[in-house]
């Protein structure tokens, strides 16, 4: 099989581990043949497939390879190729958030490099503040987020702007970040009314709005979003964060269903190298087990993957042990992120998540 037939076969698959495996196979074939142009094409596809399979560590490596190759072969590949790679470049900026081992200074340098490159392509008025906003949201930098948001809102979209659906969801993220839960919910409703969609939306949208709706006490709407969103993200390793949000909702409304959902998704969450999505899941799991403890349940039976940390062959787990595992892991990760980011933001997320349990619950129908 040639590189191109392997790539074609991969492109005919849904996003996920198998597609990524086939693209990696295409990269190997291209490297074996010593065909630099084919190796570049295959790695560009790898950037894409890894990004949509929740394995952005592979995406970063492939991007670094492509960036170096394109810099060496600029004349031969042409100006269009710069645009094509620039479209993928923005995923690099977001991916750096996942890995606390990348220092903040490096991230800031990556932003500067991105800015220079896309300015050279005649773009960036909107995208540069957009990605600054994303970084500020990740760091918990309130002033930075406000400034970037305001600049972004007055900037013009261009050919390298993120897709309208993703931008619309970022507005919802910003509202939630600033404490405007009603604004967040309204923005999500606007997105859904307009049928905005892309490969991540509305899959993640239904999950992202759940905490805001729970805090607002709008349980009926939360239930609707849970029902509409859960099938879209169930079992998909690219949607661990959304799975965590649904886990939080279920922990508060249906602990038995929450345990099933947890058992089904905890394997991917523990295995992902994207540590901030892993943190999201730890927080939700901590909420689940603290709720079970509060309800007086000391032990429970779960069918968990055998390679899970703390796996017990008899399937019987102490609620307290599970809670401490997830809360402890969440704290450790939060510290790593805060140390990298230079702001004490993630450390408070555990309390904030656990506080969801103190809100008034929905009245049974």
């Amino acid at each position: 099989m040639t590189v191109h037939t392997t790539l074609e076969e991969a492109q005919n698959l849904p996003h996920g581990p198998q597609r990524l495996a086939l693209v990696e196979e295409a990269v190997r074939q291209a490297d074996l043949s010593g065909d630099g142009a084919a190796a570049y094409e295959a790695r560009k596809e790898l950037i894409y497939s890894a990004n949509y399979a929740g394995q952005s560590e592979k995406m970063l490596v492939a991007f670094a390879w492509c960036r170096a190759y394109l810099d060496k072969h600029e004349a031969e590949l042409g100006a269009w190729e710069q645009h094509s790679l620039a479209w993928r470049h923005k995923w690099v900026l977001i991916a750096t958030h996942h890995f606390p081992q990348i220092p903040l200074e490096r991230i800031q340098n990556l932003h500067r490099d991105y800015t220079e490159r896309i300015r050279a392509l005649g773009a960036g008025g909107g995208t540069v503040p957009y990605f600054e906003l994303q970084l500020a949201l990740h760091r918990g930098d309130v002033n930075g987020a406000r400034t970037a948001f305001n600049i972004w809102q007055f900037a013009r979209r261009d050919h390298l702007s993120d897709c309208p659906a993703c931008e619309a969801q970022t507005i919802a993220d910003y509202h939630e970040f600033t404490g405007d839960d009603a604004g967040c919910a309204a923005q999500v409703q606007r997105m859904l009314d307009r049928g905005m969609s892309c490969s991540h939306i509305p899959h993640s949208t239904h999950g992202m709005v759940l905490p805001a709706l729970i805090r607002l006490g709008r349980w009926d709407e939360a239930r609707r979003h849970h029902e509409q969103g859960r099938d879209l993200v169930a079992g998909d390793p690219d949607h661990v964060t959304a799975q965590a949000r649904h886990l939080e909702y279920l922990s508060l409304t249906d602990p038995a269903a929450a345990q099933d959902w947890y058992a089904r998704h905890v394997g991917w969450a523990e295995r992902t190298t994207e540590l901030d999505t892993r943190l999201d899941f730890h927080l939700a799991a901590a909420l689940l087990f603290s709720g079970l403890r509060a309800a007086g349940q000391d032990t429970l039976t779960l069918t968990l993957p055998q390679d899970l940390p703390g796996h017990r062959p008899d399937g019987t787990y102490a609620t307290r042990e599970r809670f401490e595992h997830h809360a402890g892991a969440a704290r450790t990760l939060a510290e790593a992120f805060d140390a990298r980011n230079g702001l004490p933001y993630h450390a408070h997320r555990l309390e904030r998540t656990l506080a969801l349990a103190d809100l008034p619950r929905p009245t049974p129908a």
Partner: protein
Amino acid sequence: MTRSFAVDLRGLIDLLSEHLYAGPEVYVRELMQNGVDAIRARTDLGDTFSPALTFDVQEGRLTFTDNGVGLSPDDIHTFLATIGRSSKRGSVEFIGQFGIGLLACFLVSEEIELVSRSARGTPPVRWVGRADGSYTLLTGEDAALPAGPVGTQITLRARPDRAAFLLPDRVASWAAEYGALLPYPVTLVGPAGSVSLNATGAPWLDHSRGEEARRAATLAYGEALLNAPPLDFVDVNTHAGAVRGVAFILPWTPSLDARGHHRVYVRHMLLSEQEEQLTPRWAFFVKTVLDAGTLRPNAARDALRDDADLHAAREEIAGTLRDWLLELAREQPGRLRELITLHYLSIKALAAEDDDFLTLFLPWLPFESSAGRQTLPELLGRSGGELRFVADLNLYRQAAQLAAPGGPPVIHAVYTYDHTLLERYGALNPQVRVTRLSAADLVQDLAPPTPAERRATATLLAAAQDTLAPLDAGVRLSHFEPAALCAMAFPGAQRDLHRTRQTVGPSGGLWADLLDDLKDVGDTYAMDVHFNLNHPLVQRAAHLPDGPLLRRVLGMLYVQALLLGHHPLTARELELLNGGLLDLIGVALGDPDASRPAPHLN
């Protein structure tokens, strides 16, 4: 002072046609939908009548007639006053929908003439609306109409630029498509006479000639739909959404592009040929034809509205398909096997979502392994209760090389769902050990040398480490089978990162720094090579003194291991291969230079 907007109806229609509707032909659908709703409303009144819809198409003029409930003068006033607003009558949003549907006729005609008599016994009405927004309305005696039958007649005259949309054969084909499942006659009267457009209806609902005839007619419908005889069909009948229909079992494995294209009707009228939401996403082994009695379409009428009823209906349909598979497993295992051959991906997808289904079906499903395509019981039988799988293609190649014939097989779990299924199977069956193999696990299976061997091979090991470390390869000496393999090379977890780091270069700036950040501290080499102490060549090499010849041999064996493992060679490895080959040929030919250390080795 309060004023009203002067709405430009023409502009509004053009906007609608451009942004809401697929094309001007939707006017046929909207006319029929109005007729269907009117017939339903009349049935709800308890009237006894024989419902029928008729298109009469003659020379650019189309008259559509239904014998539904008809419009009273009040209805006309309501709908004119509230165009675009939904108003409810009984269970059907009738007048509002009627008005919206009627507007679509302006897509093809500058003028709409409507003549109607209500089943409620009110006087007849005649309304003529024009695309500029003006209209005339005559009711009762003013209308000077004969007291015709109950129902509505709508007449359109083709706009010059839209004449093609009123050609009899085209109207016939659209009406046949939209109304194929209507349970009463749809007729077209044209220059060539009168033709029935929906002779067959929904064959799966026709029990009048017995079950055998119903099955045969339904399968014939399926054959026409798929262009091939379906393997079977499953009846669908849900409480939520009142969905009636069939799921045809595809006689082939569908490609990704062809999945999820289901034919869906709402209240007997075609909504979409590509509806995706009503059928569970794992059901790519079927193509469904469904008629949703009480589900609602979206505004453009091209998909169902995403609401709680839709979700409940989909759950029921999922349950129906699942039960059918379970029954097949119980009653007709031979046919299930046939189905699995074509559709195991679909069944694996369902099993990944549903533990009960997984428990029941996993024994039937095939997995790729180093012992060929096997089912789980076969694999378990050969492996003494442990399932070992690899989820990485590169690693699988090495694992398969090591898996001895007759020994415990290694499962190739790179495919969609396999990994999830095995993990879930292990969670549900703790007595079966399910192990995801890493390179480190494979390496552990290789037997290390004894202390005596270690002493005897110290020179060999040191020379090998010294030679290969600059190539980013770690070295070990082991015993393993098959003995015919001199050496095996295992990719480290971060091989691509290591290799890319080399490509980017020692002073690669930002990107080199980023890769260094990501590098795992414990992961020292891109590759790990094991020289096989069972192999006679390696044993002989252990007797050589450290020198250019031994280093050449080790370098060449390493490159050979890379080639056997189908690993791409870096420029330096290729250089090593070329240089080593030339040197060895030189030695063989007695070249006096060949005994000097070659520049490509250290």
